[in-house]
Subunit: 313 residues, 2 copies
């Protein structure tokens, strides 16, 4: 890879072209493009789909890789099953974002679930996924799924208090439109929409790159969620630094022990039968995801304390 | 990152320049270079040291990133403490490769260790590390450390049978000179040099990219090591796909339960005092490292079976 490094170093415009993302300055992960399959511009963002040489099809929004067929299993399975396996028989679930349908595919594995709302702001993402990512968009085919195209904060403001057992926030990075999705008012509307002892799983960036952003999210959630606040992470090669984190919170009510799932997926009737195999998630990976390296524990320890929290007191 | 992807796509020589590493075709991870600090060519490889803009100083061998100051803690701490915390009071340790000294720095935390041999083939790596990576090369300052410059297979052939409690193989990827380090004769010389119930920790590539290579290493080790054979992994952002694996094996003798360390680092007298803090490893991360995603379990399940193995029967 030395060639690349030197090339970037010597190129005058390398800063501008290569290393310009404020979320991960100074590095870039490139996938070889075999074929551009789609390029479009929605009301909200630029959408690109390409066939990569080794990661399958790839979805790119505003220049940022959102998912690849090779490793989407890690993100989708973890963000869905970390919360849903942590509470007994979840019935009503809200997915915020997740227009590709992958999270729906995983939520649908849970036989106890009766109603799934999804609020995605960009209809074009749904349409593009249905065309190019049938293995993810299959999630929309479940009759329990109700698609709402619109702004999530708006949707949550009008949601009945205590309606949901679980809310899963599968948003893009908090730059531009998704900025408000890491702010207190947003988390407050989620807490309001959750039943007592209900759970939130929120995409929470990289422990290697975004410690301060994670601190901010945790401290906001500590104020908002009176149950427990926990941080977990998973390996996702196509995300910057190769990991993605999840913030898991519960509202006041029946305590939730996120690290020891009460609703083990291996025991769920029909969670795996006649469906594609789980590729990344199992009960062992669930518990392991809450193990945090000392460098992260030290950063967040000041903020987090809870009877059932896996974060240091 | 879309710009980069398209740029590579449009460049005629992109294949040649960017995506040419047989270990991870079709992708490249680039770090922005602030300043080239050193470029040299040893008898064995090209050595490059540069100051990156966000990962600190970086060591590159034959164009492949070996370590960065930002994330070396994950690799060095895991490859050293996974084996040494899995056996009671290790005394004699051999490090193969590891010329930067980082593994020695971590092995030295163990007060029970009396003798540390390190066999590194390339003296220039040691010299470069002492000059540019003092935080790693500090490992050479421990009086228990004995540096041997030479070929590891040769060194092991002359090692007394059963001399070592633990052997740690911190090698580069098995292309070119390091090829023989994944072959049966090499593992046999290691098994011979280990005491009964002694342990090997061998760098074992990426579960996302090298499943077949991992299968091969596991199957060779199953034949060679009559105790247990286990696979663990850790997050290392600057390695391809953001993870690195470790093959943990024990020889016939007192059984070793790698997943439940008997020699917890938190209880080790002086393991942390007057030393830099552990950044990535703790007992919780140790056990969590053995949790494997289903896609990997399915691949390796045919090969692995052992009373104390964490791999599926």
């Amino acid at each position: 890879m030395r060639n690349v490094i030197l090339l970037l170093f010597l190129e005058k415009d390398s800063k501008k072209v290569y290393f310009n993302n404020p979320m991960w300055p100074g590095e870039v992960h490139s996938l070889k493009v075999e074929k551009i399959l789609y390029k479009g511009k929605s009301e909200f963002q630029e959408i690109l789909v390409f066939e990569s040489s080794t990661y399958g099809k790839v979805l790119v929004l505003d220049g940022i890789i959102q998912l690849s067929e090779k490793d989407e299993c890690a993100y989708q399975e973890m963000i869905a099953h970390l919360p849903l396996c942590s509470i007994p028989s979840p019935k009503t679930v809200l997915v915020v974002g997740g227009g590709d349908g992958g999270v729906l595919r995983e939520v649908s594995r849970h036989p106890s679930v009766e109603h799934i709302d999804i609020c995605e702001i960009d209809k074009m993402v749904v349409d593009v996924s249905k065309k190019f990512f049938p293995q993810l968009a299959v999630g929309f085919q479940d009759p329990r799924v109700h698609l709402h195209i619109g702004d999530a904060t708006e949707f949550l403001r009008h949601a009945p208090k205590g309606k949901y057992d679980a809310v899963i926030v599968d948003s893009s990075d908090p730059v531009g439109p998704a900025q408000e999705l890491v702010e207190k008012p947003f988390f407050e509307t989620i807490a309001r929409a959750l039943r007592p002892g209900g759970v939130l799983c929120n995409m929470a960036e990289s422990m290697w790159l975004h410690t301060h952003l994670i601190q901010d999210m945790i401290s906001v959630c500590r104020e908002t969620f009176k149950g427990s606040v926990n941080y977990a992470w998973a390996s996702v090669p196509t995300y910057p630094s190769g990991v993605i984190g999840f913030l898991l919170c519960s509202t006041e009510g029946p305590p939730v022990d996120f690290k020891n799932p009460v609703n083990s997926i291996e025991k769920l009737e029909g969670a795996l039968k006649h469906k594609r195999e789980l590729r990344f998630y199992n009960s062992e990976m669930h518990s392991a995801a809450f193990a945090l390296p000392p460098f992260l524990r030290r950063e967040v320890s000041a903020l987090c304390h809870s009877s059932t929290s896996t974060l240091p007191r």
